[in-house]
Symmetry: D2
Subunit: 322 residues, 4 copies
Amino acid sequence: MASKKKLLLIDVDCGTDDAQAIMMAIAAPNVHILGITCVEGNTPLDNVCKNVLRVLQLCNRLDIPVFCGADKPILGEAINASDFHGTDGLGDVPDPTAPGLELIQKEHAVSALNRIVSKHPEQISLVATGPLTNLALAVRMDSTFPKKLKTLYIMGGNMESRGNTTACGEFNFLADPEAAHVVLNEFTCKTYIATWEHSCRSKLPWEWYDQWVKRGTKKSDFIKKIYAHSMQYSRNNEKENKALVAGPGFVSCDAYAMAAAIDESTVTSVIDCAVTVEMCGKFTRGMMVLDLIDSLKKKNKALIMNGCDLEKFKTLMEALIK
Amino acid sequence: MASKKKLLLIDVDCGTDDAQAIMMAIAAPNVHILGITCVEGNTPLDNVCKNVLRVLQLCNRLDIPVFCGADKPILGEAINASDFHGTDGLGDVPDPTAPGLELIQKEHAVSALNRIVSKHPEQISLVATGPLTNLALAVRMDSTFPKKLKTLYIMGGNMESRGNTTACGEFNFLADPEAAHVVLNEFTCKTYIATWEHSCRSKLPWEWYDQWVKRGTKKSDFIKKIYAHSMQYSRNNEKENKALVAGPGFVSCDAYAMAAAIDESTVTSVIDCAVTVEMCGKFTRGMMVLDLIDSLKKKNKALIMNGCDLEKFKTLMEALIK
Amino acid sequence: MASKKKLLLIDVDCGTDDAQAIMMAIAAPNVHILGITCVEGNTPLDNVCKNVLRVLQLCNRLDIPVFCGADKPILGEAINASDFHGTDGLGDVPDPTAPGLELIQKEHAVSALNRIVSKHPEQISLVATGPLTNLALAVRMDSTFPKKLKTLYIMGGNMESRGNTTACGEFNFLADPEAAHVVLNEFTCKTYIATWEHSCRSKLPWEWYDQWVKRGTKKSDFIKKIYAHSMQYSRNNEKENKALVAGPGFVSCDAYAMAAAIDESTVTSVIDCAVTVEMCGKFTRGMMVLDLIDSLKKKNKALIMNGCDLEKFKTLMEALIK
Amino acid sequence: MASKKKLLLIDVDCGTDDAQAIMMAIAAPNVHILGITCVEGNTPLDNVCKNVLRVLQLCNRLDIPVFCGADKPILGEAINASDFHGTDGLGDVPDPTAPGLELIQKEHAVSALNRIVSKHPEQISLVATGPLTNLALAVRMDSTFPKKLKTLYIMGGNMESRGNTTACGEFNFLADPEAAHVVLNEFTCKTYIATWEHSCRSKLPWEWYDQWVKRGTKKSDFIKKIYAHSMQYSRNNEKENKALVAGPGFVSCDAYAMAAAIDESTVTSVIDCAVTVEMCGKFTRGMMVLDLIDSLKKKNKALIMNGCDLEKFKTLMEALIK
């Protein structure tokens, strides 16, 4: 039976939207999660690991192995997003019953990624919702890693130079531009990218959000609780609102990449082109570059998500709180 | 009477669309052209000067003084656009009756810009349709230049990282990123920018173009003749077509900036924000950066044109061939 | 008679060592100073102009025309060196009898440079002891400027990545890396460069300095007075001392370039190679690059001064205080 | 007995001078080599591994474990030095009796580095004579790696902007600037750096070399054979000669770092200062930056080797061919 399911690896920097993405995967009957790897990003690495465990405990899925990965981006200087996600990455609502870090696997995330994909070559979909440090390290430790993947789904980057952290920098790519550069250049597997602009344009109305978190399930209560901080921040912060493309609403960035992995038909349109990442710009460091005019002569292309079936997406969102 | 007209200075790198922009200004009853300054860009500087004289001769306006400016961008390494505009910048259809360069004023374009705006402080609209080298030199030669302008209209840059020359580089800004940087930082006068994306989105159907150049006037014949090369190139060249935002059609980039100068109501929408130019990126050199989240804390803002009244624009285009 | 003298133009950002360089030129019987052009640098442009006039008044040479040039570097963001040279650029010892700015010529420095060299083609030595903004503007305003010069003498840059302002940035080049880049690329005339390291290695003992300024002449009193601030700063400031190559002593940077112009035999050794300037580095912006392995395939070479006849140099220094 | 020996790990991109460095370590009675890790650099990774095995076979030390590491620099684009070291990295003199790659350990070099230093915390000297990719990956896989080292000896970088591969780029640092940046920033252990200039200034006369390789031992014959290509290249190549600092002679770069590890007293002088690496310069990418004026306010300092006891060094060189 399991062999008919999609095999999934999930690499996260578990803030509030990563939590929703994990829950979406757990709720999907057609996927089998082989492991979750953690990377510094929205919040420091220890928080990321704790947050993943909290989500798994909530879903009664502590059987899924969790691996601890890179505690810094490639060049060593981390940024985080605690103003949006809270200091602990999940809205600063402590859970005294949360599991301890002793549940984290001893194996390093990068080793685990390489070991697991070698065991299921070309069968695994990898969903990456944080900075791409672990993925870049994985290919550097074993150059065959990318071709052993079936499909890669990335939340990160921007397609029209709209930044949410700097003028042209989306958080995940800005947090590790070198890793993003490596992944976009060397991951020759089929690659979907859910950019910041795509996420914003696929946002859901606040009215939808309000009824969604009022269902009274344990899971909807959890989401409501951990997202209260972010919601407050999103609604009131001027920079956050300026960064938001295409008007107000609820944007669960990481959920779009996960939805694509669970059901590719949620993606209604793509731009198929070579992409790279600026590493040296004074204003553009971390920006994703779409080479729409083929000026870089790169063979490797990516599928930039450019349209979302919102009904299907909402169905997946509804499922995750049940 | 003349005092009621809008006073105009035009800085061009006269290719085919600059020619149309100049003709549009000449046809506009409400503007008075004080001079045209030339800058290396689409074609080498001598061609630029010759092309302007040809356009003025065609329009019986050789009375307008033409000044020769910078023959290289700030850093000294020029690019040009002869594949699109032809080797001579006007479609390589030689005109044996063209006036000679002896008609060019002896005064340097940069000196002329400074002299003329000092004579009419805060009364002149400057329309810049080439690389911004002359403008950058003008402010460096006299730091009061920008505040003596009434309004600046620029064709150049991009607003969503769509390049027409490199992946993220629009020709005019890429041809002199340092000059664009200086102008966007120091020109504190009201500044409109017609970007590549805006021009593309405001394009006219080829059907419109075909009937436009068939009117049988001397001017429509001229445009048809000089644009034949570009039209062929636009219609068949793969890179050119990939660079074109929002589908096929006739894009007269420089004409949008000029139309705005002649009739501000052709601009139906603007984005009001701080802008700058990337000078150091490996992939993004020359890209215009919109600081929509105010991360650079710049006081100086520009008006990025984001909508065009196509009916009014067509009326101006129709007028120029009469 | 005058025709047998070396014709000199001097471009300065008049701090204390520029003052010494000007005085050295005035004292030299074999040179005829055609003009002094001013550029923002060590101190704001108005101070530079005032300081030059003070020096000329001291030397009874207010007949030498002084021109005001660029008030900002090419990119528009100035740095200055008031901690070393004092807020007014000459050690903050006000002179109530100083001439007023009305003595400055009306003509812009850049126009003057172009006009004067056109009048004496290939006969003029240009000594540049500040940021190279005026020179870069001069070639952009008239591309024939460099080939009309006989010889160019620059104080600026570094030859072994030793910075005095940032880790790898010497003040004059760091203050306008784009201008230095233009000059090093486009000035095809014979070009001598007195770098920071060369100046440091050619320093004079403090004992020599102490007796030098004690001669009791009007000029030695002036130097002692204006240099008191710098001397205090040089002797006690930790960063200043760390920046000093090859031990303590009196370094009059600009004087080495001027000495070479007055008497080429003060230069006992040169490195003849192509040079350029880094504009984009995170740590190396403004650094002069010596292409000793010819990796850039540049035809244009410069003569990097690499040895000074200290006896001859001291003779010139002694002469300037008489 | 072994516990009194210095414990050594050696990370190499085994070209001709790495071979000499390994042989020097093997010949030293006071060191115990715990392992040799391989990294792409002078020659592709497979060659590096083969070359190390050839050297160990020559020395009857195939008991030393050899580990295969990164096959590309951090950003994925490798350069190599086959013009100097030969296509196979050891002068293109094939050895049919060379051991096969099956002797390479199964464990990845980066895992081995982390495992071995964890076993002997603060007791191991690591000598790195290639691009620093493996070291950068090691700290990213385990951030405690640097503080578990006793001392790090690096051959790489430059101290006066003298490049041997580009104008300002020394091969090892240029081959992976990001890795060098990570190591110089995060390796807080005592760190010695043998730069290109230091190696050149510590070169040995060709006369010494000629007698050295004529001893008729198996090892001297080997060195003579593998170095014939490099010697020819060094003596005749114009770029190579221009890159050479301080005149002709035999420069075994990697041997200086190894000599320091074996006998610290070979280092007669050091510069103790913060260092970093330029990653973004147009001309200076890969250049080591010495922050002699403390402008970067970095706590972490390195010891830049600035003098070599040539007699002691020659004794070590003599020993390795016995």
